[in-house]
């Protein structure tokens, strides 16, 4: 049986301490700049905050993984190199990378550092994963959320590294690291700037009939009736019209949360080493409740007990949830 480490999000030092206290085996976080894919306003760590956070986590036996998982645009590679140097100096336990140039730099300059391949690298086949393992010494791959459990089991047999899968949180629809939707509408890039549907371009507009439009850079991403729950205008969660769907429909995906609570035993059995909880942009209270619930569930499964997944299902109560691609190919 694999270890089933619990990998938890930390958008702020307080969230990191919360995650560690709630039983995270490792937390992942990033600096306050474009070097990570959650470069959101008011979020993330200064080098000094990271240093203190690493000390806190290590004192309690938890690891800290630093996300350097965006793609440097030509001419700005030094920002990523400096971030890696800083992370190495502070003593984080691993880097999560996507760009080959960044991976190559770390492999040459900090050969002692452990490398994880970010979901942003979109490595979804054994060959792609082996490419990163053999060239950069990658020790773990974070799999895209597009594979079924039998497919994950098969991949596990064909790769020389550990597997980490997302089990909870925001459900990405596009192949990560291959999406320029935000840049197309706002001029800020997900791959290059670490930005997705930035708050600075978000606007909620109440229409005359009491309905509400959520807009991104002036484009109506969705419109909600007077009693309908409004959502954040993420492009791939919006409602649009096509000729044969004139009333509007979720062209890509509904606003929905991934929850694999029921699949944990199967995932462990398939050889998944680590479970990742999404949500560096979410609050401490989210981190506290999700991490502790999954901590209990994983401990139960490891001890051979039936896990009480009631709590986990309740975490997304009121919000739609899905097992996404993991349970059935029909998702595609």
């Amino acid at each position: 049986m694999s270890l089933a480490e619990l990998i938890c999000p930390a958008g702020t030092p307080a969230a990191l301490r919360t995650a560690v206290d709630a039983g995270a085996d490792a937390v992942y976080c990033g600096f306050q700049d474009a070097t990570n894919a959650r470069n959101f306003p008011g979020l993330n760590f200064t080098p000094q905050e990271l240093e203190e956070a690493v000390a806190y986590a290590h004192a309690k036996g938890a690891k800290v993984l630093l996300a350097l998982n965006t793609y440097p645009p030509a001419g700005k590679v030094d920002l990523w190199r400096h971030a890696a140097d800083t992370g190495a100096r502070i003593g984080v336990d691993a880097f999560i990378v996507a760009d080959m140039g960044v991976a190559d730099y770390i492999a040459r300059t900090h050969p002692q550092m452990r490398l994880h391949l970010s979901v942003q690298a979109a490595a979804s086949s054994p060959e792609a994963i082996r490419y990163y393992c053999e060239n950069f010494g990658v020790k773990r791959v974070v799999l895209p959320r597009i594979l079924t459990i039998p497919e994950i089991r098969q991949i596990r047999k064909e790769i020389p590294c550990e597997i980490e899968t997302f089990i909870f949180g925001n459900h990405g629809l596009m192949v990560e690291g291959r999406c320029s939707l935000t840049n197309y509408l706002t001029g800020q890039s997900t791959n290059l700037d670490g930005v997705c549907s930035p708050a600075s371009d978000v606007e909620y507009v109440r229409d005359a009939d009491g309905s509400m439009s959520s807009k991104l850079a002036g484009f109506t991403i969705d419109r909600f009736g007077p009693d309908e729950k409004a959502g954040y205008p993420t492009i791939c969660k919006g409602r649009y019209q096509v000729a044969h769907r004139p009333d509007g429909y979720y062209a890509f995906e509904e606003p929905i949360s991934l929850n694999l609570a029921r699949l944990l035993p199967e995932l462990i059995d398939a050889g998944v080493h680590a479970f990742k909880i999404e949500g560096r942009q979410r609050s401490k209270s989210y981190v506290r409740s999700v991490v502790s619930a999954f901590r209990n569930a994983v401990d139960d499964i490891r001890a051979g007990r039936e896990a009480d997944i009631g709590n986990l299902v309740a975490l997304t109560e009121g919000q739609k949830q899905t097992q996404g691609a993991f349970a059935t190919k029909k998702w595609r």
């Binding site: 030509a74 760009d99 190559d104 320029s180 509408l185 001029g187 096509v242 044969h244 062209a251």
Partner: protein, 303 residues
């Protein structure tokens, strides 16, 4: 001498349409290189494979260099097999769009496709050290970065390519959005994407055109058009300019770009001509200018 290339057809055009299209390209289009092969959806590939050898032969006979492009998404067994098979080819040249292809190809020569995220000089240097001979830069890369990347690529002896015409690829997914819009799944799609030879237009709920769906791919509503930017691209060392096939008169499009490169047509006249060819489709060049991709930055504001 800057080369004009024709990118791979992103859409599910029928076998007949493809044959006719490439016959005309061979006879009339002033492009130097043509990329063939299915990049978007592995389910479509069988429809084209039978004709591929004759199309290659036809284009090469007309003096065009042919390059075969690999799939952007590789997950299923058939996709892995297709990628591996392509990587075994000695000729024509191949363009790789997924790390699975890089793995299979090893250090044998290959081109790097636009889906490979070759955003910077460090990555380009790495790829060159592994046998890359040519790199197509990602569409969202802004001008200053194109300049730095192109310089590095040229210093290493690589060809450098930038898309200058056609819808920008904005995202790919494991899920088919064409099938979804018709209440089907990818496995049961019945190739409904064939109905939209220039992509399926998505409009916002207040009727504004915004994106195009092409199977698992999401594209820009506007055609990305770099015309007034061509002299700078050439000066920066970009050696190849890519035209993406759209459902318009692509021979006319190629002629316009050739004429601008030959300095026998002004960019104003070129734009006016493209306007005629492309009907009402909006033009955009925001990515190049570091702004929202859909934007159109007018020539006057660049001065």
């Amino acid at each position: 001498m800057t080369k004009l290339t024709l990118g791979p057809i992103a859409y599910h055009w029928s076998a007949d349409q493809r044959r006719d299209f490439y016959a005309r390209v061979a006879d009339e289009a002033p492009v130097d290189e043509v990329y063939l092969g299915e990049v978007i959806c592995s389910k479509r590939a069988p429809f084209q494979e039978a004709d591929l050898p004759s199309i290659i032969e036809r284009l090469e006979r007309a003096g065009k260099k042919v390059i075969l492009s690999s799939l952007a998404e590789v997950m299923l067994k058939r996709e892995r097999k297709a990628t591996e098979d392509l990587s075994e080819m000695e000729s024509p040249e191949i363009e790789i769009n997924n790390a699975a292809g890089l793995y299979a190809r090893g250090t044998r020569p290959h081109r790097i496709g636009p889906f490979m995220n070759a955003y910077n000089e460090a990555t380009i240097r790495w790829m060159a050290s592994k046998g890359a001979t040519h790199v197509c830069l990602p569409t969202e890369l802004p001008a200053p970065s194109i300049a730095v990347a192109a310089r590095m690529a040229r210093d290493l002896g690589l060809g450098v390519e930038v898309q200058v015409f056609g819808r920008a690829s904005l995202a790919v997914s494991a899920r088919c959005y064409h099938a979804r819009s018709h209440g089907r799944t990818k496995d049961n799609c019945q190739f409904v994407c064939e109905e939209d030879p220039d992509g399926m237009p998505l409009r916002t709920r207040d009727e504004q055109p915004i994106l195009r769906i092409n199977g698992i791919q999401t594209q820009s509503e506007g055609y990305l058009i770099l015309l007034q930017e061509l002299p700078q691209l050439v000066a920066d060392g970009v050696s190849h300019l890519r035209l993406m096939p759209q459902a318009v008169d692509m021979v006319a499009v190629a002629e316009v770009y050739r004429a601008v490169l030959d300095q026998s047509m002004s960019t104003e006249a070129a734009e006016a001509r493209l306007r005629q060819v492309c009907a009402d489709t909006p033009f955009s060049n925001g990515f190049y200018h570091g702004q929202a991709g859909y934007r159109r930055i007018a020539q006057a504001s660049l001065a």
